[in-house]
């Protein structure tokens, strides 16, 4: 409690806020150093700030004019920028140099309560709450049961209605046995449509433009003596006839993250995926030799029919594109 120093101070009434001495204060504060402005030359500071505002006015007026006249984006934006810059500059100059310079302070009271306050809170909460739940375990348990079931079934519309189950969708593409290879316009591709070192993006006729059935048909070499490009040893049996007359077809969907592998280096005979730079060796069953791709690009088995058109012997023998949990070692 403060000691008495001779100045009369009235005591508060019970229940009243502690009264304070209320004396007009303007004159006092005007003298305080904290209330002085920081500018050494207030007129100059004011002129600077005012010129900022004037510039802003000009800028905004310019914006209006530019908009009215449908000038280019540059003029719209630069007038706006000048306007806001001038306004902001003036504001900040005003704040820094023509306002009470301070500093000011306030007390930092701890947010944490006293033990007594906390006890009172807990007491209020627990004492009345106790009346509500003590010996009412049946109520609590049945409420829990209902809420639990609500929580579970809420997931049904929130999740399941969003989309279909994947099922086997990811495992197969639209390629079937005997499907023609057609380009994006639907034109069937035949031999000699491609130059040696050329490529074309092809689809099955019933899924033109399909995201998963997109395939790169590449003419790697002139027709080899054996009639087929030689697959690497581990596929020697299985893929012996898959690449007739120097043509080969691989899925265009990268096995890393699904981007189209549209980059073919003609001399080095490699396919490069532009997203994360996985490099696939076309002469080696598109096995990735560089970059993050973990698996080779699936190969589409080809044959050339009697009219010279390219057709698929079968669909892809594994899921195309990036991996997923159920893919296993398909």
């Amino acid at each position: 409690m403060p000691e008495d120093t001779g100045t009369p101070t009235p005591s508060p009434e019970p229940g009243e806020q502690p009264r304070r001495l209320r004396i007009p204060v303007a004159s006092a504060r005007a003298d305080a150093p904290q209330f002085q402005i920081a500018a050494g030359n207030p007129r100059r500071a004011e002129r600077l700030a005012a010129s900022g505002f004037v510039l802003a006015a000009a800028g905004f007026a310019g914006f209006g004019a530019s908009y009215w006249q449908n000038y280019s984006n540059f003029w719209l934006a630069i007038t706006l920028a000048v306007g806001f810059a001038g306004l902001g500059y003036g504001m900040v100059v005003w704040a820094k140099f023509l306002m009470p310079r301070g500093p000011f302070s306030e007390s930092r009271h701890s947010v944490a309560p006293t033990p007594a306050q906390r006890e009172m809170f807990i007491d209020d909460f627990a004492s009345r709450g106790k009346v509500a739940v003590e010996r009412r375990s049946l109520l609590v348990k049945t409420l829990g049961l209902a809420s639990g079931i609500l929580g579970v079934v809420l997931a049904f519309p929130l999740l399941r209605s969003l989309g279909p189950l994947p099922g086997t969708t990811l495992r197969k593409t639209a390629w079937r046995r005997g499907a023609y290879l057609v380009d994006i316009t639907g034109r069937k591709i035949k031999t000699d449509d491609l130059e040696v070192g050329g490529f074309i993006t092809v689809f099955p006729p019933d899924d033109i433009g399909g995201a998963y059935s997109q395939t790169m048909l590449i003419r790697v070499d002139p027709p080899p003596v054996s009639g087929y490009l030689t697959p690497p040893p581990q596929f020697a049996e299985q893929r012996a006839t898959w690449a007739p007359q120097g043509y080969i077809a691989f899925s265009k969907v990268c096995t890393h993250a699904g981007c189209p592998v549209g980059l073919y280096e003609e001399l080095t005979k490699k396919m490069l995926c532009p997203c994360h730079q996985s490099l696939f060796d076309v002469t080696d069953a598109a096995i990735p030799i560089f970059g993050p791709a973990p698996r080779p690009l699936p190969q589409l088995p080809l044959y050339i029919d009697e009219e010279g058109y390219f057709r698929a012997q079968d669909g892809y023998d594994e899921p195309v594109g990036p991996g997923y949990w159920e893919r296993g070692n398909d």
């Binding site: 920081a38 280019s72 984006n73 540059f74 902001g88 900040v92 704040a95 820094k96 140099f97 310079r101 500093p103 930092r108 009271h109 701890s110 947010v111 944490a112 309560p113 006293t114 994006i184 000699d192 449509d193 491609l194 130059e195 040696v196 070192g197 050329g198 490529f199 074309i200 993006t201 189209p260 549209g262 980059l263 073919y264 280096e265 003609e266 001399l267 080095t268 490699k270 490069l272 532009p274 730079q277 490099l279 560089f290």
Partner: protein, 314 residues
């Protein structure tokens, strides 16, 4: 608490740094490079106006071409263009290939072991045509394409060309034609500063690691559409939003957004706010912590903090 001189100097230095950084960044990543194409398109017009074909008609022109060939090409490609250890044969290669490699400056190489790079062509248009005529005269035509004289792109459908470009060309050259690096040191060059003839020839002949797009893959009309798109929209892109930052997209935009954007805002913050009190005479010598307790090793392992109990009012 203002220190005008220190503040302004610091601000000026930082401003200069940010401005230089952005200038260098923008300089390196480039704006559009449109001038070259304008210059070359006039040469292109000159080429298109020539009526001569690949087949030799004038013995004197052949002799001029032969001289140029012997002096500049035969060292590597052989005296009769039969090839050698260092260079492939040029017999039957077609006029388009020869024209492209000479016009782009890939050939002649700066030195025998160098990689072909775009550089100003060593020969003028007439000389290139002389060399082409000479080389194509050595064997009968093999079906490889010749120079597309009179290539008319005035009716090119740029919308079709854009669609075909996106499918076939963008994966290597980028959708804006800025060019990019492939694997093993190969580069897909930028498509700025090239003539319509060069674009046509590149598509049909597939130079280097570029794949080859023959008539069975892209019809003549489709090639004209692509050439039209490249010459018109790749080389003169519609950029109403400001500097195009080299056309490499988010890489350059992020650079600018962070250094110029956030940088400018930080400079504004430096101006508006105060500096630390570090410059004033300190009562302590920097080793005391805030409560006035000594902490000589400066590590401030203050296990005591501000006890909340102490702060509470009675």
């Amino acid at each position: 608490m203002t220190r005008p001189h220190a503040l302004w100097r610091g601000l000026l230095v930082s401003l200069a740094l940010v401005v230089s950084a952005s200038f260098v960044g923008v300089f390196l990543l480039g704006g559009g490079r449109d001038d070259l194409s304008l210059a070359s398109s006039s040469a292109d017009v000159a080429a298109a106006s020539l009526t001569s074909r690949d087949s030799p008609t004038d013995a004197s022109q052949l002799a001029a071409g032969r001289t140029l060939f012997v002096e500049n090409c035969s060292t590597c490609h052989g005296i009769s263009a039969e090839g050698g250890d260092r260079a492939p044969p040029l017999l039957g290669i077609g006029g388009a290939t020869v024209d492209l490699w000479l016009s782009s400056g890939w050939m002649p190489l700066a030195e025998p072991s160098a990689e072909p790079v775009r550089k100003p062509a060593k020969f003028d248009r007439a000389q290139v045509l002389e060399i082409v005529r000479y080389v194509t005269s050595l064997v009968p035509s093999t079906g490889n394409p010749g120079i597309p004289f009179g290539l008319d792109i005035s009716h090119a459908d740029v919308a079709e060309g854009f669609s075909l470009f996106a499918l076939n060309c963008a994966p290597c050259h980028t959708i804006t034609g800025a060019g990019d690096a492939l694997a093993d040191g190969i580069q897909a060059p930028p498509l700025h500063g090239v003539t319509k003839t060069m674009v046509w020839e590149a598509i049909r002949t597939g130079p280097g690691n570029m794949p080859r797009f023959g008539p069975g893959t892209l019809s003549p009309a489709q090639v004209v559409d692509i050439v039209g798109y490249v010459v018109k929209n790749i080389q003169h892109p519609v950029s109403p939003g400001g500097f195009s930052l080299g056309g490499v997209g988010p890489v350059a935009e992020g650079f600018v957004g962070l250094f110029v954007g956030v940088g400018a805002c930080l400079l504004a913050a430096l101006w508006i706010g105060d500096r630390s009190e570090g410059g004033q005479e300190e009562d302590n010598d920097g080793h005391e912590d805030h409560d006035g307790h000594e902490d000589p090793d400066g590590d401030q392992d203050a296990h005591h903090g501000d006890d909340p109990r102490e702060l509470a009012h009675a």
